[in-house]
């Protein structure tokens, strides 16, 4: 595994001379361009769970993806916070959030998005926005049938991100 990664990085370094930027997250098909940034798993903001218990409770990568879609669909339909998403590249947001959830659930995904601070510092989210987002995530997890206590374990991982997500 490590050997394979080293080879990949070596190949990337040879090709682009900037290994961390090798897979340019700014140019995924269907997404708008973004300012360059360093891709790192630490950008996910929290260490993943260990084992497979959490991922199974979220019904694997597919279930985790459905929860992201469910949360975002509810959010853009919510008059309290819909405005936040008007200027947002939803294609990219869905992809990076799905990566992030999968990464945190130890689903074997790489997170290639920006750090929480970097991703939110221009949006101007306020505390009530965070509350609304959490409620939509809870509703999406309910819809997926994730048990309440398991939901809370997941939310406990995300909760400290509020410091970077809420900027005013």
């Amino acid at each position: 595994m490590i050997r394979k990664m080293t080879l990949t990085l070596a190949a990337a370094a040879a090709a682009f001379a900037l290994p961390a930027m090798a897979q340019d997250p700014a140019h995924r098909p269907g997404e708008e361009a973004v300012d360059p940034y360093i891709v790192a798993e630490a950008n996910a903001g929290v260490a993943p769970f260990e084992g497979t218990e959490m991922l199974e409770a979220f019904h694997g990568r597919e279930g985790s993806d459905r929860i992201v879609d469910g949360m975002l669909d509810r959010s853009v339909a919510d008059a309290r916070i819909a405005e936040i998403f008007v200027a947002t590249d939803m294609v990219r947001l869905r992809r990076t959030l799905k990566e992030q959830f999968c990464y945190i659930l130890n689903g074997g995904c790489a997170y290639t998005g920006r750090s929480m601070q970097d991703a939110h510092d221009d949006i101007g989210l306020q505390p009530a926005d965070m509350g609304a987002l959490v409620e939509h995530l809870q509703d999406a997890m309910d819809a997926e049938g994730v048990p309440f206590r398991t939901q809370n374990r997941f939310l406990a991982k995300l909760a400290p991100m509020r410091r970077d997500v809420v900027t005013r």
Binding site: Q126, V134, Q138, A156, A159, P160, R162, R168
Partner: protein
């Protein structure tokens, strides 16, 4: 120049959050204590009452009934939480001696009435979101209490018909475990929380007393748990016991909640084993 000034003002305004209500998650504002502050039922929490986050205000009104074998205790109050920082509360308590009043020589239905004005300030921490640290949410507060039965209080050995309690409270939601833990230390000389006055012939000094509670989150709108509250024992005519309850708090939504408990208030004014149903309704935002 004017344009840049306007732009500067606009930029400054964009940094100020809009005032919004209901930013907190369900039940995380707590319910109303018997003294009107936000918290559990008998114990004070470090939470600021209502559903306003740091960008909003919250408020609520509550009525509570504790039906005991020999007394009835009722309280009603209002409270506001300002930007999740400051809480102001006012409550009126009625301690109705009912038939027991005649046995105590006070007269049938004799009622002690006490007004409680409270202020609470959150110092640090976020009980809900700070899940990567053990540091709890911490608040300090005071409650000024005025009892309307000074003559009776003096007759039973009470030193004053008004008093002020000071407290520091720490609350923490252990979200990964779905458990809420809260504790408070209260400096008080109140007899039966002030319903029998303040200070007594046995002791007149403020003493540190403890209030603790635990809660298990069963769902987003239901928490069950237990509370314990120690109390002074200042009056020689009647021993005073610690209080205990087991409770369930259920939020219909962010505007209406019901708390039901079985409360053990021990001995009150020589009548032992005051155990009964605690029922509280809270409406707010």
């Amino acid at each position: 120049m004017l344009a840049s000034a306007i732009a500067g003002v606009a930029q400054a305004q964009s940094l100020i959050p809009d005032s919004r209500t209901g930013g907190k998650l369900l039940l995380t504002g707590g319910v109303s204590t018997i003294e009107g502050s936000g918290g559990g039922g008998l114990s004070t929490w470090a939470t600021i009452t209502g559903y306003g986050e740091e960008d909003g205000i919250g408020g609520n009104a509550h009525v509570t009934l504790v039906d005991l074998p020999d007394y009835q205790f009722r309280t009603a109050g209002v409270a506001v939480g300002l930007w999740d920082r400051v809480e102001l509360s006012a409550a009126r308590q009625a301690f109705d001696t009912g038939d027991t009043g005649a046995l105590l020589g006070l007269g049938q239905g004799f009622t002690f009435t006490q007004d409680v004005i409270g202020v609470k300030i959150r110092l640090t921490g976020d009980a809900v979101y700070d899940q990567d640290t053990w540091v709890p949410q911490i608040a300090i507060g005071l409650q000024h209490k005025t009892n309307d039965q000074g003559a009776i209080i003096a007759a039973v050995g009470g030193q004053d018909d008004q008093g002020t309690d000071f407290y520091i409270a720490a609350s923490k939601l252990f979200l990964a475990e779905s458990v809420l833990v809260s504790g408070a230390v209260r400096w008080t000389n109140a007899n039966q929380t002030g319903l029998l006055g303040f200070g007594g012939d046995a002791n007149d000094d403020h003493e540190a007393q403890f209030e603790g509670s635990v809660g298990w989150l069963l769902s987003r709108n239901l928490v069950v748990g237990a509370e314990y509250r120690t109390k002074p024992d200042n009056l020689s005519f009647a021993a005073e016991d610690d209080w205990f309850d087991i409770y369930a708090a259920w939020a219909l939504n962010k505007h209406l909640s019901v708390t039901a408990a079985w409360a053990d208030l021990g001995s009150i004014a020589t009548f032992d084993d005051q155990r009964g149903l605690y029922l509280s309704l809270q409406a707010g935002f």
